[in-house]
Amino acid sequence: MPAPALTDTAAALCVVLIFLVPCAGAGLALINAGLGRSRSAAHLMMSSLCVVAIAATVYFVCGFAWQGFVGGPSHSVSFSGKSWDWIAAGPLFLRHQVFEGSPASLAALLGMFSVGLAAMIPLGSGADRWRLGACCASTAVLAGWTYPLFAHWVWGGGWLAQLGTNYGLGQGFVDTGGASTIQAVGGLTALSIAWILGARRGKYTHDGMPSAIPGHNGVFVLFGCLLAWVGWLGLNSAGAILFNGAPPGRVVLVAINTTLTAAVAGLTAAAITHTRYGKPDASLTANGWIGGLAASSAGCAFVNPAAAAAIGLAAGVLVTFSVGWFEVQMSVDDPGGSISAHAMGGLWGVLSVGLFAEISASGHPGQWLAQLVGIATLIGFVLPLTYGLNWLLDRVYSQRVAAEGERQGMDLYELGAGAYPEFVTHSEEFTER
């Protein structure tokens, strides 16, 4: 596949948009901290910082070398007469990369921010019980292997991107802003972490019924949503220019679609919870908002605003009900709602490209099939891969904190100081019910 060319204007705009992406990470950190317990709040923020640092470092060492960019060196295998490009073969440590605003250098910059964002997603599902060292080690695995591999397939000219040219499946797998590469990969890793860690103590009674453990700071959560919105505007717009070759003017449509999808999803979640519980639920509304942002990422450059609103409506319903489904039916303790918002929202966003996208006037039959192949790859390959790697890590270095750490709170046990030292803010919930 030939490398895309960017005009100077497009490259400059892309840099500015990429600089907004850390806002998404800051938003997620606030949401995760707010939805966790007060006695683990500082630990979660510390984990967020460490995770971003580890992700950026590992991505520098080997991540971008294996993710690559369209037109760069790669390894391929031949299958049924076609070349299947499965991993990039760039030099480690970003050597030989010229940082002058070329598409490849911009992809490296966006990738460094994106991998940090993806690595922060599992912190929500592992809140209140995931050791700091373990989440750093897990992040190294994610940033060094899982993320670059899948990102190469989608953004680096890999076999998923080539489904169109090789097999006539539309334009090949399309994901503008990372609904699959960032959100679904992060969300499926969050599911693996929640399974491996198990539920928080006191979350489930002996007969398997979940107890409510409300988040400790709704202001963090809702402000995090607003901050994440800014980050997503940058992420989706930069992705559209860099990976889809969209002209700079298309950023307007991307921003409108991103906002509409998140807005409708958030409103839908608020309406559903108001109908079910009599009052809108702030945490589920936040999850709906983030789920809408995740869903918007895949097709924001290719759908019209009405379709973006429809995608948001479906995302709001999906995320709201899946939070309860994971908690009650599947017994998965996910304090931050990361699995529902990022994995379910991201997967729905990927599918929505096949249903709503207007990729070209001539139409591309088979686009929906290309998107389905991407979803099948996420569930059938990425989930076992990330679960297996984290399971192996757990055998070597236990990921869950000791019972005493959970009782004391992660702040005191792992950091030696709490986030709110002046207040006693929690009751003892480990007594028999």
Partner: protein, 59 residues
């Protein structure tokens, strides 16, 4: 059961990849892709059932 579930996930993905690579006509290709996703869903169900809540209550 958990290992079987993960094997089914991989098997479903293999069916999808093979269908894309070997089948040319759209209808059977789509049918096999959907069948592969069906196998993946079966695998997911098995993995989910292998992770009951009480396992999380480990020391």
């Amino acid at each position: 059961m958990k290992i079987l579930g993960f094997l089914l996930l991989l098997a479903g993905w293999a069916i999808v990849i093979t269908a894309v690579a070997l089948l040319v006509v759209e209808a059977p290709r789509a049918a096999f892709v959907l069948a592969g996703i069906g196998v993946e869903i079966l695998g997911l169900v098995l993995v989910i059932r292998a992770h009951p809540a009480q396992r999380g209550e480990r020391e």
